[in-house]
Symmetry: C3
Subunit: 405 residues, 3 copies
């Protein structure tokens, strides 16, 4: 093939997908069965089902819409998003069940396993947002597999070493994002946002309360209600604040649609990470406010500096949308928890644990990021040439005529 075309994926993508998928089917055939005891931990099927659907909508539809924002890359954005989501979910179900398998020889899955697996997949999807458009689908699938493994490993480490309750470690998801950005990239992007992307953000916003509340323990009455209300308020406040800060920081007082989008998400991320310690509406609102301010400022000033300093490029501005707010949420969690402690000893012990868990997460994600970067740099995977980046044409065939809509 002439060098002006992207390298054909035929010899690479198809075998990889087939091998992966057939492997999954074999593993599922031997080791996975459906949980027959439907009432686990007091959560019945009917109680969990609507929130499972909401998470499902977020992962498939919300991220799918979000990823259509590159004008010539809509098909790839939503199509690859779907592929990565379903592969990551299948992989996460297996990884999450390993402990179970070790003790019982079989992995039993129920609706909750699927929800947890979709959250791991969400972590992978956020991660590929960094390199979207600059990679081919083979890369994306590799990243997703590594990412999910790292996420599960991190969770297991935290639980084993620090006895962190499962919920907290799940919320590390957003912090974990920071590591995988180092890799490569030097392309120039003509970023053109479309309405689709705004609508995708709206999807994420609408269903975020479910995302944050679905794994909250049902046994303490009122906790889920608190989670839903806090998330809603934090999102609301961060939307308003983002608009204000965006207008203030623009010389003509105009709004930047990307600020609005990424700051609403930042609010959701922060509140998600600090959820276990939030008990009052105003705490949630303050967190949302701070997250929006930090994220907007980070967005305006950080992205270009990152490009200069580390020679690295971040398509979806994942650092300011997920990295900084994740850290902020972690800080808020720490402060609120310390405020609630009665004596000094507990407070200090909690702080030490909390800082340790951050350090573990960061070092693990740096390692994973470097490993991922090295593997992806390997030429075997046929990265697209620079001039073919952000172009649907490289990966999709349009039977009659391509339309860009």
């Amino acid at each position: 093939m002439a060098p002006q075309y992207a390298p054909s994926l035929r010899s690479c993508l198809a075998p990889m997908l087939l091998v992966l998928q057939l492997g999954f089917i074999l593993i599922y055939a031997f080791y996975i069965e459906i949980e027959s005891n439907v009432k686990v931990y007091g959560i019945t099927f009917s109680n969990l089902y609507p929130e499972f659907q909401d998470v499902n909508v977020m992962v498939i539809l919300g991220f799918g819409y979000m990823c259509t924002f590159l004008v010539r890359y809509g098909f790839s954005g939503s199509g690859f998003n779907l592929l990565v989501a379903v592969i990551a979910t299948q992989w996460a179900i297996i990884l999450n069940g390993i402990e179970n398998w070790y003790y019982r020889g079989k992995i039993r899955i129920d609706l909750k396993s699927l929800v947890v697996a979709e959250m791991c997949a969400a972590s992978a999807l956020i991660s590929i947002g960094v390199v979207l458009g600059k990679t081919n689908p083979v890369h994306l699938i590799l990243i997703a597999l590594l990412e999910v493994s790292g996420f599960v490993l991190n969770e297991w480490l935290l639980q084993t070493l620090l006895k962190v309750p499962p919920l907290n470690s799940i919320m590390m998801l957003h912090i974990l994002r920071k590591g995988s950005e180092q890799p490569f990239e030097k392309e120039k992007v003509d970023r053109k946002t479309g309405l689709f992307s705004i609508l995708g953000t709206l999807f994420l916003c609408v269903f975020w309360p479910s995302f944050n509340s679905v794994l909250v323990d049902n046994r303490t009455p009122g906790r889920r209600l608190g989670a839903v209300l806090s998330t809603y308020l934090a999102l609301a406040v961060s939307a308003v604040t983002a608009a204000a800060v965006s207008s203030l920081s623009s010389p003509k007082g105009k709004l930047n649609p990307i600020h609005l989008q990424s700051c609403m998400l930042a609010g959701g991320v922060s509140i998600g990470v600090s959820m276990p310690a939030v008990h009052q509406p105003w705490e949630a609102m303050t967190i949302g406010f701070t997250a929006a301010v930090v994220s907007t400022i980070g967005f305006r000033y950080l992205k270009s500096h990152m490009l200069l300093a580390f020679n690295c490029h971040d398509t979806c501005a994942v650092l300011s949308t997920h990295g900084l707010p994740g850290l902020l949420g972690w800080l808020a969690h720490l402060l609120l928890q310390i405020k609630d402690c009665d004596d000094h000893t507990t407070a200090i012990r909690f702080a030490v644990f909390h800082i340790c868990s951050l350090l573990i997460t960061i070092s693990l994600s740096l390692c994973m990021g470097i490993i991922t970067g090295l593997i992806l740099k390997w030429n075997f995977w046929r990265p697209p040439q620079d001039k073919k980046c952000f172009d649907d044409q490289a990966f999709w065939e349009f039977p009659h005529l391509a339309v860009q809509k």
Copy 2:
């Protein structure tokens, strides 16, 4: 700045948003707490949650999509819609809790408060549909605040003076809309509807049953089922009828997409207002049928006359979509209730009450409309010039290049 640009919003929008938001956070910090007793009035969290999500989808996604129908105004439509929705919701939570605060010193919020507040916000969103594109976001937020206050005041008046049960007064929402249209406007619009808007209507349709049933009392078994079925049937009938009437009234027998949209909504509005008195499917269907006929005819003949007679312009045709069907629903409620009464005295007493509630609502909404109009005419808010109306460019910065998609 040269006069061909819209006046900068920097000195106006940003401070307003910040002051509002910080004020809300302070009020929430001192007076609002989360209800810890999760089972109020027999409605548990799990029962209410899916319908809360549906209302949320309607308010944020449904209206957001709807508002993208102006071709060069998509960002503003959906972005401002979001801003207004979250500000109005926060404000409505405070206002709805005032009575509570008076007696107990604290406002306790739960999922139901949030649902009620979102409905107030929906009333504000319908209201801003009238002036969409001809105002700047500062106007919209002012309208929303006034509208929500008027709505809550109206509800309180009706409850105090006439002992109307809460549900009925909530349903006044659509009737209330009529007042705020008087204000200003003389711009000519190039109205171009897109597919987005049709899809937004579909969203509203799909979730309307939840909207109408979510506040129906759970204690009478079957009432919610009735509300869902009636709403579904009324919407179905009004869609079919709208297509028929639209085709009949066009010289070439073609369909008008705007008729289809606004008449489906009209059916939903009518059935919503008359819901408490509807007990049989055919009653709901007849109401849907009449609403569609009235609304289509109103749409074809009324809009241009309004423009001539009152020199007022109604971007989203709110009068024929919400005003007339609201009145129709009110009439249907009256007739059905009288039909169900056994003796004359009760019937007459009900009729008097019902008419009084309409009169109060109309006079209040006229007052609010005039006040709103006067405040908005004040030049301080920097209304956009006529040539900048319906243009995203005035309010949004497009980092690299604007795309209209």
Copy 3:
């Protein structure tokens, strides 16, 4: 009117819609009432409501989005889809209640009736996918009415003759599709897929688990959980497989967006038909895998052959998306059920029954297809000329200026 215009629908569509709708209202007024006993078969309103909403979203939003994929036909696609859906649902409620009416004189409807009716409507919507763009709305409504009648008749026959439990016969829906394709068509299509269509597919995918599980009996604990998990896994596997096969079968290794779409749906169809016999995750995954392979190959090679062999044209490739996977699911059901049988007699008896039910369904659908074809060929309905096919302009009036978005 000059011959270059499509024949006016004024004298045909409007009266038809009005007569149908007024007829429905009359029938509903006399024979239909709302079920007052809310707890039927142990399914309460709150349990069923979220899944009803999901089915509703699929039928109205999912199919509506899907049908916008023809570039100049978006309004017609989504608008007619809505019309057909609501008419078919009303008609199906009546037909499904006939037995009830025969014994009790009244048809009582509840949420479950509505769900079943929407599924019948879904069968009609799939059916009109074959002729979309080559017919006018009058045709579509006729097809929908006939299709729903055939579907209900088929279900009734199977239940009466073979004592098939209701659930199974519902799942015949997808198989039934095969018959109605014979009719006419020779137009050449410039098929241009848009992003909307991909997003519609995502909608269908996300809510498919609800579609397959909503009618599963709640009494056996775990069955619904199984249905949801199996559907999810089958969809995931078929998406991955479709990408692999699509890339393999393309000379340049590119992906075809239409393959991805139709094969995910094929996976959902197959698993839906074979659901009652699927008990293990790997069974679901294998079915999804096979369905995607068969459907992709069918898509690439069958459509053009069909065009040559039978001179028939299938806009949405319904045969490979619904026909083949339906048969495949039927086969899978047969094999799995036989595997589970203990002795030979039961197995053979089941196989005979199963084959009979397929034969009845196929012959009935062939008959219906021929009848439908004959009726539609009748010139009275004013089919659009060939050059006006796939054009919104023929049916919609655009008040100010048409925009294609």
